[in-house]
């Protein structure tokens, strides 16, 4: 049996399944047919119903995956066959040639300008925008150049330029260009497979009937997303085919069977108004049924923002003047017309990805009549396929939103983990040994500075050489280097190798997305990862001052000066290790609760299920044959203890280390657990004579009595209280099968905590200066993690004093306590007041 899993498809579902599996101790091979990861989520501008920036949300996840030594990304590849059986599959993977060695390419882009072949339509932008015959496929990882074989002069004719070697080969210092590459088939051994190949817009003749490809400025929703995206061909400005801005845009939702198309149209319309408040937008649809409350709320917000939603049929566009479109339609039995609309966006139905059929044939699994992955007859579990040990999640099953795809990915991960529980951890690479130099706070700072050009993002605007020269003149800065893409780690490690630096200053992009990456490279160079500072030249400088390169360069100098002052005062810190109680508590014997407990127990983890009814079969929602089978399976597992006729008493503790009282007619029993899942239905109000776990765990309900969780589409099962999760009827109304998947998804979230012996967390947390703290308690309420507690203590003379205590395990290091404290009695590690004041002074000194 193999402790590794193949995940096919690196969109949001595939990436999520991968990170869940690694978190539970399984190595992952992530195969993606495109040259970069991210899937459709990376192509779209914003997500519904949270209206979050899609690429900003997914980028940190992509980097996390790209830098995880236990996730092997095999991009630009296809699965050719899968043989063997559950637990021991052999997978043949065909790797397509890039004609660029990814191990050598450092994404410097020196080969791009010398390539004589331009005007290559960009596939990632659906044909909009143009690149050279050698280019990046997308802005996302793995960021390696790629040669288009059907456009490259050398590959087509064996010649390019007037020299012996083609210009790209001459320009590449790292000798990464490799025209000899051929398709290569390799073999992987894995224990389980998860298919997450997503969906594509269904392009049929119907699109042409509505003018797509025939009339100017008629396009599909995904094409429109690329125009809205800041990383798209127009930099986020919605432009028509002639380059003029669009003021009036209408959408037509061609599929009313699923809410996804309608929600896509509303999100795009809302995004258009957010970018241009003078725009007029209409969404035409044919009676789409929107039952989910979060979707309805989003639609209401869109309408309040002047998105006009029109129930329409017989929609018929005709070409107008000056590239405009006239759209006639029927609404409420009357003929109407939108005359002279600047752009018309068609939202076609979503179909299985184009590769699904070939993949299904290659690996011997069935598709349903619509081409989505199917299961064996008689098997109704949504994420099963027709082949045991091969699971499916996300839009490869049916069109769905990103939040639902995330839940299914978690559920698929929990199925794979249950199958391979006996070999958990056996295929994982050991963590790299840390060999940090012995650096103390007292050592004279010696700073190595790296300025990352981030391709054209920074290097294209700033006077980068002037900035480097200036940075070299700053106190304690002993070396400055420039890098095309510093995040690849090549330059930073080169700088640190064998040198006696004790601090690293990076001028680059956002720490939100890249701090972990640069910390890893700093550590790889032998310096404590907390002795590194990133100055955000990209977001704070070049993006916001893109029209003024001179002033942007001056601001960049100021930011680098501030960064150098701060990093000089940084202290080496060690990660915090917290032991974990290897068990979970599931509250509520609903289908979700039962499914969650079962998957945890099948994964060889200890679980306690608490239900107030006298028998799980009495719970009304459990009275289906599917759930009955789950209850029977659960009863057979020794590591699952079911408490019926039970209530919860006191619950205390924090992620990894909770303690709960379970109260039955036989008395009270205390259990130590690392994580808690709430799977109760609406009738299961928490407060009882024995306790109120909702209050003790800081859980909140919405006005309609469902639990309120963490914000964001990627965390639908998470509460803000770390280590506590919600699923099924605790989240929203749903059917039995969805409730089971929710429970199984929650099982994966829990297993990510309790399958480990300890948690490792950042030491960037708050520290109380007891000599200054007078226990005023102003810092307690603002703490979002409920990490601060007020304590009283005795003095020898009998007087009582107060101070606060910070729980290191849950503190987020957000700094709210520091900002609130009137006595300067609390600070965040490496954000000490003196560091911040040094930065402030450095600005005013220069001014």
């Amino acid at each position: 049996m193999k402790g590794s899993v193949l995940v096919v498809g690196a969109g949001p579902a595939g990436m999520r399944a991968s990170s869940e599996l690694v978190n539970q101790g399984f190595k992952v091979f992530l195969v993606e047919e495109k040259p970069t990861i991210g899937g459709k989520m990376a192509q779209i501008d914003k997500m519904f119903p949270s209206n979050e920036c899609s690429s900003c949300t997914i980028m940190p996840r992509m980097l996390e995956i790209a830098n995880n030594p236990n996730i092997n990304i095999i991009a630009f590849a296809e699965v050719e066959s899968i043989t063997g059986e559950p637990g021991d599959f052999k997978v043949k993977v065909l790797k397509k040639p890039r004609y660029v060695d990814p191990m050598r390419c450092n994404a410097c882009t020196d080969c791009f300008p010398v390539c004589p072949v331009g005007g290559v339509p960009m596939e990632y932008n659906l044909g909009r925008g143009a690149s050279k015959a050698i280019s990046f496929y997308s802005p996302f990882p793995p960021r390696k150049a790629l040669i288009h074989p059907d456009k490259c002069n050398y590959l087509l004719s064996g010649e390019c330029g007037d020299q012996e070697q083609p210009p790209c080969v001459q320009a590449c210092e790292r000798r990464a260009i490799d025209f000899s590459q051929k398709p290569v088939t390799g073999e992987l051994h894995v224990g389980a497979v998860i298919i997450a190949t997503g969906s594509d817009e269904l392009h049929t003749d119907r699109l042409a009937e509505y003018g797509c490809g025939k009339m100017p400025n008629v396009l599909t929703a995904l094409e429109y997303e690329r125009l809205l995206s800041g990383l798209g061909p127009t930099g986020g400005v919605v432009k028509r085919d002639d380059g003029t801005a669009a003021q009036t845009v209408a959408w037509y939702v061609m599929d009313s069977a699923s809410p996804i198309g309608f929600m896509t149209a509303v999100t795009e319309a809302m995004g258009t108004i957010e970018k241009n408040s003078n725009a007029s937008v209409w969404v035409l649809h044919e009676n789409t049924n929107i039952s989910r409350e979060t979707y309805s709320d989003f639609i209401q917000k869109a309408q309040e923002a002047n998105v006009e939603i029109v129930l329409a049929d017989a929609v018929a566009p005709t070409e107008g003047t000056e590239g405009n479109i006239n759209i006639s339609y029927q609404a409420a039995g009357r003929e109407n017309e939108l005359a002279g609309v600047n752009m018309f966006v068609l939202v076609p139905p979503l179909a299985p990805s184009k590769s699904a059929q070939k993949l299904a044939q290659n690996i011997g699994v069935q598709l349903n009549p619509w081409g989505f992955f199917d299961k064996q007859s008689g098997d109704s579990h949504p994420i099963h396929t027709s082949r045991e040990g091969i699971f499916v999640c996300g839009s490869a099953l049916e069109p769905k939103g990103i939040d639902d795809a995330a839940i299914q990915a978690c559920a698929a991960a929990s199925h794979a983990a249950a199958l391979l529980s006996k070999v958990r951890g056996t295929a994982m690479a050991p963590p790299p040994e840390k060999q940090s130099l012995p650096i103390t706070s007292e050592d004279e700072p010696s700073i190595a500075a790296l300025i990352c050009k981030c391709g054209p993002n920074i290097g294209g605007l700033l006077d980068i050489n002037a900035l480097a020269e200036y940075t070299a003149s700053l106190p304690h800065v002993n070396q400055v280097e420039l890098a095309p893409f510093g995040c690849d780690g090549v330059k930073i490690r080169e700088m640190l190798r064998g040198k006696e630096f004790n601090r690293v200053l990076v001028g680059g992009c956002s720490p939100k997305t890249h701090e972990e990456v640069f910390a890893m490279h700093t550590e790889g160079g032998g310096i404590n990862r907390y002795l590194m500072e990133i100055v955000n030249l990209r977001n704070h400088c070049t993006w916001v001052h893109s029209t003024d390169p001179k002033e942007a360069t001056e601001k960049a100098k100021t930011l680098m000066r501030m960064g150098a002052r701060r990093v000089a005062l940084q202290e080496p810190l060690e990660d915090i290790h917290i032991p974990v109680s290897p068990a979970a508590l599931v509250i509520g014997g609903t289908p979700s609760g039962v499914a969650c407990a079962l998957k945890l127990a099948q994964a060889d983890l200890q679980v306690y299920l608490v239900e107030k009814e006298s028998d799980l079969n009495v719970v009304k929602a459990n009275q289906s044959s599917f759930v009955s089978r789950l209850i029977e399976a659960l009863a057979k597992l020794e590591n699952a203890r079911v408490f019926t006729g039970a209530e919860l008493g006191a619950v205390q503790g924090f992620m990894g280390n909770f303690n709960a009282e379970i109260v039955t007619s036989a008395g009270k029993e205390e259990v130590d657990i690392g994580s808690i899942v709430i799977a109760t239905d609406l009738n299961m109000a928490a407060p009882s004579d024995n306790g109120d776990y909702e209050a003790q765990l800081f859980l909140q309900r919405s006005t309609n009595n469902f639990f309120v969780g963490m914000l964001g589409n990627l965390n639908p099962l998470d509460f803000n209280t770390a280590g506590v999760f919600k699923c099924g009827p605790a989240r929203m109304e749903m059917g039995v099968l969805d409730a089971i998947m929710d429970g199984e998804g929650a099982a994966s979230r829990v297993a990510g905590i309790i399958s480990k012996t300890e948690m490792v967390k950042s030491p960037i947390i708050s520290v109380v200066v007891d000599e200054k703290c007078d226990g005023c308690a102003y810092c307690i309420e603002p703490c979002p993690a409920h990490a601060v507690a007020l304590i009283e203590y005795m003095q020898h003379d009998g007087t009582k004093k107060k101070t606060v205590e910070v729980n290191d395990a849950v503190c987020l290091g957000c700094g709210n306590c520091m900002a609130t404290c009137p006595k300067d009695a609390v600070y965040i590690q490496n954000f000490k007041p003196e560091q911040i004041m040094e930065m402030v002074h450095s600005v005013s000194e220069e001014a």
Binding site: E771, C776, I780, A789, I791, Y793, M794, E805
Partner: protein, 63 residues
């Protein structure tokens, strides 16, 4: 000067700012504090006995 606070079994305790010459003396004081509802602990430092206490306040009034 001993540290004003100490982590004992993962919990923060505060020193009562007195050095007790004997364990008996320290334990007597601990009993007094415990009677007042405080958790108390005794640590030794350079032959002296130090008493630490704590009590979590859940009813918080901001002034």
């Amino acid at each position: 000067m001993p540290s004003l606070s100490a982590k004992i079994d993962g919990k923060k305790f505060m020193w009562d700012k007195f050095m007790y010459a004997s364990e008996t003396e320290a334990k007597e004081k601990m009993a007094v504090y415990e009677k007042e509802g405080f958790e108390a602990a005794c640590l030794t430092e350079e032959g002296e006995y130090l008493v630490y206490t704590r009590k979590v306040i859940t009813e918080i009034t901001l002034e």
